[in-house]
Structure formats: C-alpha cells, structure tokens
Amino acid sequence: MKLKEIKEHLNLKEIYEIPNKVDIDVTTACGADLMSDVLAFSNAKTMLITGLTNPQVIRTSEMIGIKIVIFVRGKNPVKETIELAKEKEILLYMTEKPMFEACGILFNLGVKPEKMVKIE
C-alpha cells in the first residue's frame, strides 16, 4: 500500500512531507503510545501511529528506522517535534480519527503488524 493511498483513506493532513516520498510502500505498521512498546520492534521501515506528540516520538522512530509518523485524534505535535522530524527526514501526518479506528482501517487495507521478537 502506497503512502499516498493511505493519505486518502485516513484523510491525513500533512505536517511535514517530502513530496517525492509519498510513493513509499507501507507494508507493516505499529500503533502505540508507549515508546518502549515501539522499541520492542526491531524491523525497519515501519509506520508509527501514535497519540504522543513530543520529540521523543521522533527519537524513538529514528532508532528503529521508522519513516512515517501519524498522530491520531487531531493532535498536532509541538514545534520541537517537527524540527527534529525535518532534521531526521521523518514524515509527519495527522488524522482526526482515534487510534483504534485508524489502525483498523490500515489493517483492513492490508497493512500488517510486525512480528515481535520473543523475550528469551
């Protein structure tokens, strides 16, 4: 599923976008408000759906190679978050939909969860 299609389905508002990157193919995503939950995924190129808007969301994304962050429930990130996202080239979008609905729509569209690594 291309990012530009996801934009239509979730009615995403661009907060920070790099035009030539809307063709990114999104196959997996994760939805979480707890950054350690996000960090439990070690595979690259995930989309993050979150209700948190502070700069740590971008730091967390940077650590595991997340390229796209969607803020749910109409939340706009603070200036520092946007600045850091620009520096790290992480795309930011906002949807009015709540977390459960946004994730449900993506799941129905064929975006799948990532496999989590088991704790030994």
């Binding site: 950054m35 070690s42 690259a44 730091r59 967390t60 940077e62 704790i119």
Partner: protein, 142 residues
C-alpha cells in the same frame, strides 16, 4: 583485541530535551564503521533505552560505547539512586516511574526488558543509594 571507545558522554538527570542525542550519534558512528543494519538497530534500541533511563531514573551518569570487529559494548554508569531489587526491575511492567514520565511515553516497565531482549548478554551491578552499572554486550553478526 582492545576495544575502541567511540562514545563517552555525560547524561544529565531529567534532561529530556537532549534525550536520544547520544544514541543518535552512536547510530551514525556505527553506520560509518560499516556495521550491519540489524545490529545497528538493536544497539540503537539498547542505547536509547539506557539513555532515557539515565535521564528518567538516575542522578545523572555516563553512557559509553566500545567496539571491535566482534562486538559492541554499551555501558551505563550512574551516580544513583541504585536499584533495590534488580530481578523486579527486569519484570515486564514493573516500573517506579511517576505519572509525568508516563505522559512522555516512558516508564511502562519495558525499558530494561528491551535492553535484555536485544542484547546477547548483560551484566548489572547496583548498590542502593550509590550507583547502578549496566553493561550490554552485542555480538556483531558476520
């Protein structure tokens, strides 16, 4: 073979604004050194969790990273307050974080679990009221 020190940074207590900067720097260094992506990602996760732990829980401390061709070692060395019960600190969901920390998306009691999960081996040493020293060993995949 002696490991090369590539990070030696002071982390200040409650310095959320800088949280992640050292991990970000280490990630770039590992990329320049040609380490494979998978090991860079797990090292980044470990370092970032430890960096945030120093900011959230400690009185301040140091974060260091060492590397040779075989492995990466991350050391978190703080000035207290120490961990009373190390086994409990590794229990998923166990946390001593306050609500203001949770609002930032941390303090859910999964941080040390992630450190353990992505390390090949870890060593923890702590004295309540004094210090905690954690060493995470990451074997580089050939």
């Amino acid at each position: 073979m002696k490991k090369k020190k590539i990070i030696d940074s002071e982390i200040k207590k409650r310095d959320f604004a800088s949280g992640g900067e050292v991990s970000s720097k280490l990630k770039s260094l590992l990329r320049k050194l040609g380490v494979n992506n998978k090991d860079i990602r797990r090292t980044s996760i470990i370092t970032y969790e430890l960096e945030m732990n120093l900011i959230i829980h400690s009185e301040g401390g140091k974060l260091k990273a060492f590397i040779d061709t075989e492995e990466i070692i991350i050391v978190s060395d703080d000035n207290g307050p120490g961990i009373k019960d190390i086994d409990r600190a590794f229990e998923p969901g166990y946390s001593t974080a306050t609500d203001d920390i949770r609002e930032l998306g941390f303090g859910a009691g999964m941080g040390l679990n992630n450190v353990k999960r992505f390390s090949n081996d870890i060593e923890v040493e702590s004295k309540p009221g004094e210090y905690t020293k954690l060493k995470a060993i990451i074997t580089i995949e050939k």
